[in-house]
């Protein structure tokens, strides 16, 4: 049986990207400002992470207007949701394995 860490995807595993996907796992879409405030990031930092996720096909980004103000909406793709679920399962497996080893002493 392989070690659970083998299932970790470096692209998704990064803390901020995991946070972005966590928001998008619950919401159909979130705007840039909401993500920036929820994850306490700067504009530039969030942009870089979103770009990485978009290039990997994990999120899609669309732009629109509301009350004449531009808004950038981000939503997870099917691939992104799947990658997030796999990452969470991997982390849980890692924790379970550690707890089992602890119990065995």
């Amino acid at each position: 049986m392989s070690h659970p860490t083998n299932g970790i995807d470096d692209l998704v595993h990064q803390r901020v990207r995991l946070g972005i996907l966590a928001v998008l796992a619950e919401a159909d879409r979130a705007d840039f400002t909401h993500l920036r405030e929820t994850l306490a990031l700067t504009d530039g930092n969030l942009s870089r992470h979103l770009q990485a996720l978009e290039q990997a096909g994990l999120v899609s980004i669309s732009k629109g207007f509301r009350d004449r103000k531009p808004r950038t909406w981000v939503s997870a793709t099917r691939l992104g949701r799947r990658a997030f679920a796999v990452e969470i399962d991997t982390l849980k497996a890692l924790v379970d394995r550690y707890q089992t080893e602890q119990q065995r002493g």
Binding site: R15, A22, E26, A27, T33, T38, R66, L94, Y98
Partner: protein
């Protein structure tokens, strides 16, 4: 990676998901609004039998369509305010399901014999039939529609908790429907507030209140016992 870091990461992710879900906690709204519409429909029990069907049709077409529109508008407003968009398709679909459930429940209350709301349902037991000698079972369309509707919605939205919640809600509606119908049929006629169509006295007020309570209870469950994340 160490297990401690993994635990910390899982905690952070869990916290983000919970706070997002709190902002999007809108699943309670459709059952709440339809529960209130049911309560409102109780006033129609006072309408004389000859006009009851027409008034009921007008009420439900207007109120039901208005409720679905309200669900849509509310969801859009929440999205604009919080910058996070909920499951609009799911919410509107759940409104449509509840509309159907409402109509099916109302059909049992208002319609008997040849005239039926929209004329598509054809089982006389919609009015409530004796299960055993002293217990009446209400219409089984509403629980069936709830279970099927939320079952399909749960599959579409990949929220299995919603499917389970639909089954539990259906069971609750069936039980409350049975209690309401049993009470209505066993009560002295002047307390039961019903309408007479042909020779059949159909209870109205108590079943409606029973269904309304069931809908509001479903809303409370969705509001306070949140559906597990997908």
């Amino acid at each position: 990676m160490q297990a401690k870091q993994a635990t910390q990461l899982l905690d952070e992710v869990g916290s983000i998901r919970r706070s997002t879900r709190d902002l999007l906690s809108t699943w309670w709204f459709p059952p709440a609004i339809f529960g209130l519409l049911m309560l409102g429909a109780a006033a129609l029990c006072a309408v004389p039998g000859a006009h009851a069907l027409l008034v009921s049709r007008i009420y439900w077409l207007g109120a039901g369509s208005g409720a679905i529109a309200a669900i849509y508008v509310r969801s859009r407003r929440l999205e604009a305010r919080h910058g996070v968009g909920g499951n609009l398709r799911g919410e509107v679909l759940s409104g449509v399901i509840l509309f159907a459930v409402g109509l099916l429940a109302i059909e049992g209350v208002w319609v008997w014999g040849e005239e039926r709301l929209f004329g598509v349902w054809d089982l006389p037991n919609a009015v409530g039939w004796p299960l055993v000698e002293f217990v009446y079972f209400g219409s089984w369309y509403p629980p069936l529609a709830l279970a099927l509707g939320y079952g399909v919605l749960g599959v579409l939205e990949r929220r299995w908790g919603l499917t389970v919640a639909g089954l539990v809600a259906a069971l609750g509606v069936a039980v409350l429907g049975a209690v309401a119908y049993t009470l209505a049929f066993r009560m002295p006629e002047h307390f039961a507030a019903g309408i007479t169509i042909g020779v059949v006295r159909t209870p109205c007020l108590i079943p409606l209140i029973g269904y309304a309570v069931a809908f509001l209870a479903i809303a409370a469950v969705f509001r306070f016992l949140l559906i597990r994340p997908r």
